[in-house]
């Protein structure tokens, strides 16, 4: 029994470090992109279109991972794309968390009509297909970084609200909350000082998972050509181009796809790893 537990712990630790490592690397890449990218990610060179990566014959070694149909350097575009991906992950993740957790906390602790209204809204939101909803919202508010972040917040707040509401409800029924009330703490004080700290581990796990989801949503919107402008390097935009020219130039799809895959995997494994860390039974 003890053995199995330490094994789980060790495996979870490795998972946590690997995913955190990849994300730290990505942050460094995003910060240093202009310095480490070998080429200008926007520079087109129609004579160097669809060059394969360096190990394939016919490659130009100065384009390490090859070029797309307009002759732009795939590696440089991936490195620069990390900036947008991480910005979306961080900003929309935090904003979604703030909105969703606040509403969930209010619904779960205050109950009454506040809970009725918020729960009804959650039900309505759950009846929307999320991808279609996001595409519709971008069509309404127009493309651009701000719109993407806003769309993610509008769609995904329910992820936090649902879970936090349930947890706040469970915490609100506990003795320590009752004694805080008797001690004369106000409702806002109880929510922020008593309940929030106990729900925080769950919120942190959800936030990590949400960042991974945000990266995917941005990629999907770029894929249907609704994200930023088509020139700016985004992983989703590169994937869309790669999907279209898949039989002529597989590398345009493969490299951004691998990057996106490990990024999403890392966010989600980090979340799962943190969940185990916070779990008092495993700890």
């Amino acid at each position: 029994m003890l053995d199995g537990r330490s094994q789980i712990k060790r495996r979870a630790g490795l998972r946590l470090w690997l995913s955190a490592g990849w994300l730290v690397l990505l942050v460094l890449v995003a910060l240093l992109a202009p310095m480490i990218a070998p080429k200008n990610p926007l520079e087109q060179d129609l004579f160097a279109g669809r060059l394969p990566p360096f190990w394939v014959s016919g490659a130009d070694p100065s384009f390490l991972l090859g070029t797309d149909s307009l002759g732009r350097d795939v590696l440089s575009r991936i490195l620069h794309g990390a900036r947008l991906a991480l910005t979306v992950a961080l900003v929309s993740g935090l904003a979604t968390c703030l909105v969703g957790a606040t509403l969930g906390l209010m619904a779960g602790y205050l109950r009454g009509w506040v809970d009725v209204v918020i729960s009804r809204l959650i039900d309505i939101w759950m009846a929307f297909p999320p991808v279609l909803f996001s595409i519709l919202l971008i069509a309404v508010i127009g493309p651009g970084l701000g719109s993407i972040i806003l769309a993610i917040v509008i769609i995904d707040w329910t992820r936090f609200a649902r879970v936090v509401r349930a947890e706040a409800m469970a915490q609100g029924a506990m003795d320590y909350v009752a004694s805080a009330r008797i001690a004369g703490r106000g409702r806002l004080g109880i929510m922020l000082r008593e309940i929030l700290p106990n729900v925080l581990p769950t919120i942190v796990v959800l936030l990590t998972l949400e960042m991974g989801i945000a990266v995917i949503v941005e990629a999907i919107l770029s894929f249907v050509n609704l994200s930023i402008s088509t020139d700016d390097p985004t992983w989703g935009g590169m994937i869309a181009e790669g999907r279209a020219s898949i039989h002529q130039a597989w590398w345009v799809l493969v490299f951004p796809l691998i990057t996106l895959f490990f990024t999403v995997l890392s966010f989600s494994q980090l979340g799962e790893g943190l969940k185990d860390r916070f779990d008092p039974v495993l700890r």
Binding site: M126, A127, L253, L257
Partner: protein
Amino acid sequence: MIVLRALLSRLVMTAITLFGVAVIVFVTIRVVPGNPIAMMLPPGATPEDVANLTALYGLDKTIAEQFLIWGQGVLAGDFGTSITTRQPVLDLVLGRLPATLELSIMALVMAMLIGGVAALTGTRLRGTRTEGGIDIANGMALSVPDFLWGLILILLFGVLAPIFHISGRITPSLDLPFVTNFYLFESLLRLRFDLWADIVSHMFLPALALAIPLSAIIGQLLKQSLKETMHLDYITLARTKGYGENHIILREALRNAILPTLTLVGVQFTFLIGGTVIIERLFSYEGLGNMAIDAVINRDLPLIQGIVILFAVIFTGVNLIVDLTYALLNPRLRHA
């Protein structure tokens, strides 16, 4: 009595949800910049032409008036006319629905098969390296969404080893004798196995992409509840009776462990249906989701409304059915 009252309140809640969805879509898409009427007319149209057409689609009235007119139509089974194709929205949407339903159900079946086999194998070989391997594969399948699995499958089985088709629903040059749009189902009924094979070859990869994340959820949950069941007394009893491990897992434990998994599958199935939107786009599969994205791009307001409402009806309908089935299967609720 209690069941009946619960059912009624569920139905009322569902109606409120659908009404909310309708209001939100209706208002949202009317804020969309870009005039759909201007896109319909040839260059050189006079201002009167524009005004006439705007009036024809009722776009000159206030949003509240438009909603009332639209709502009356919907209750009478009329969802309006598509602006781009000028066909009734209901016909268009129902024409595409079978494609999406077939894809979703095929994906659901695949997810249950993969998840079930993974859970049973993991339970049978617990404590071995194989179980560890299954757990890791499960974790990965769970972490990465259908969109990325779709792209990976396209690369592996569409390009690297071109076994399956990666776009469309059927090879366009084939002669189709179908009277319904349930191609997969009808080709089987007509015993046209050549067509059936072609359709399956088109559907396999998108269905698998949708199935992978769900199969991981099913596998994880089923394995967990099998694990709990294996510690129960009646399993120990079966063991002392001398039954083999395979018999115990398949015949004794599975029956008890499967119920909690099944209730979860219902909710997850709605997420899977939501995933068809982008997966259909990725595989150029002519279903509802693909049509929805086109409708948004073309600013086809009546069509967008119709599709979103239909999705909402499917989602709430699936949830309703799951709750009812659970109530019927659960003896404590049935006899209350």
